[in-house]
């Protein structure tokens, strides 16, 4: 999934560079990428979402 996420980021950056009129699409891809990144982190930490220390 990290691979897919970097592909999405590359597409968003390419749109910025070559097709600046597609700002909404590029920003949408940026948001999707943020969500994938957050979900992957939460998958990796789902058995203890907060730091394993005394709170």
């Amino acid at each position: 999934m990290e691979f897919l996420n970097f592909l999405i980021i590359l597409v968003a950056a390419w749109l910025l560079w070559r097709r600046p009129d597609k700002e909404r699409l590029a920003f949408g891809l940026l948001i999707v990428s943020c969500i994938i990144m957050a979900v992957l982190f939460l998958i990796g930490t789902h058995t203890s979402l907060v730091p394993g220390l005394n709170l």
Partner: protein, 504 residues
Amino acid sequence: MTLLSQDRMRTVLAWVVIVLIAVPVGGAVLLGVVYGESPCILCWAQRTSMVLIALVGLFVLRYGPRPRYIGLVVLLGTWGVYMALRHSALHLARDVGQGFAAPYFGIHTYAWAGFIHFVVLVAVAVLLVLLREDAPSYGPRATGRVGRLAIGLFLVVVGANTLQAFITTGPPPFIGQADPVRFSLNPRHWVWMYQDEVRGRISLRGSWTVPRPDPTAVEVDADPANGPLANLPVLDITRRLAITAPLGGTLTGLAHDPATGRFLAVTDHYGVYLLDSALSRVEHRVLLDHQYSIDLTTLAGAAFLGDTLAVLATNKSYVLLRLDPAADPDREWRHFRETDGGVTELRRSRFATERARQMYVLSLAYDRQADELITVTVPSPRHRRMVVSRFDRGDRLLSSEFEPRLGTNVTPSDSGRTLAEYVVTGAVAVDRTLYAVSAAYSTLLVTDLDTKLVTAAYAVPGIERPVGLAARGSELLVAQADGRIAVIERPGAGSATSEQTVRR
């Protein structure tokens, strides 16, 4: 003060993007490809967050500082700080020099990522403070030479990341790994998986979800016949005593001083009482301020260490006290909410454990021969173990820990039953033997502190809500929460058991 125009701000931002993408992100790719250090699933998310912050920077370069860009970069910065805290917490408290993968400039990558996200937040704040309030211009515009360099570098570095991600994590549905293998261009060495990371139930605190026990209300099955050990001999209650001295709160622990005959009692209201040998008069008392300094949970254990009085809270925090006719009430005001003036606090600290970590205790004993303090854990839904921890009295650090094993004379009632089902609420050490009374199944466990074996176990029917255990001569005194004391003969100190046995 010279404020930044939007054009100047874009140039500054382009350099920020170049540094961010070249140093931490580009450096991480180099580590992976050249040195073979692949990121774990959490490292990938931290690295991706830095890439996304750089991408937002490119959006600002192209379209100006739109509020949603600024909002998103602040979100990513705060999320990155959370990720660093969560990730670093796995390793920060380990021993010196220990961490996950190699450190760089003395700091591990997960900690670096936290620092970088923190700096990003600071940089955003500084840029916003310095940004001149021109009329906003949000249309696409040329990025300039530095901006083109930033975009080009971004595409190259992220492209390299994409290649590394494909090799080390694979295409969907595969995801990063907790323990990634080193980078290789040989496909036979590639490890792609997702099962390990999705295993386990969702939890907020994981193994730290441990309910705090209430020494006065331990909910257990008190019937010895239902316990994990079979054919227990019965120890009859020979007589009953009662604490008639007035105590504030419910009794939660009791100790006996063989030198003076006095008793030490603690209550759930943080009361510490030195009682006469008849249990009828309070000779000295203090009410600890449990909110001063370290966090004292409910007091659950007491012990005499010669002329020092030791009391223990359920979270393994302890207080050492000493009788002192010259005690200064004003100096002790910080320690005690109430005092009769004859007691000084020597120390207030915590016992640190390894095997008993994340487990509470409800008992404290003192082994005079070894000069060690002893605690016994109580089980929780997360941690079902009985751990005996011993602490050197000199420095109060852990001397040893063990999970008692069954001696040849003690047999489990079922193959699946273990000592961890007992809830030890009182303990006392005599002659290198640890006596521990369990509220669950009303059982007395006898453990040899040298062999670490439970050499005997006895059913003690008739005890109700035991909260403490004291030794007096050949007797054991089982203190109950209601202030009554069940007296039994101490096994090993003479003929103790009746003919009766508890069978299942």
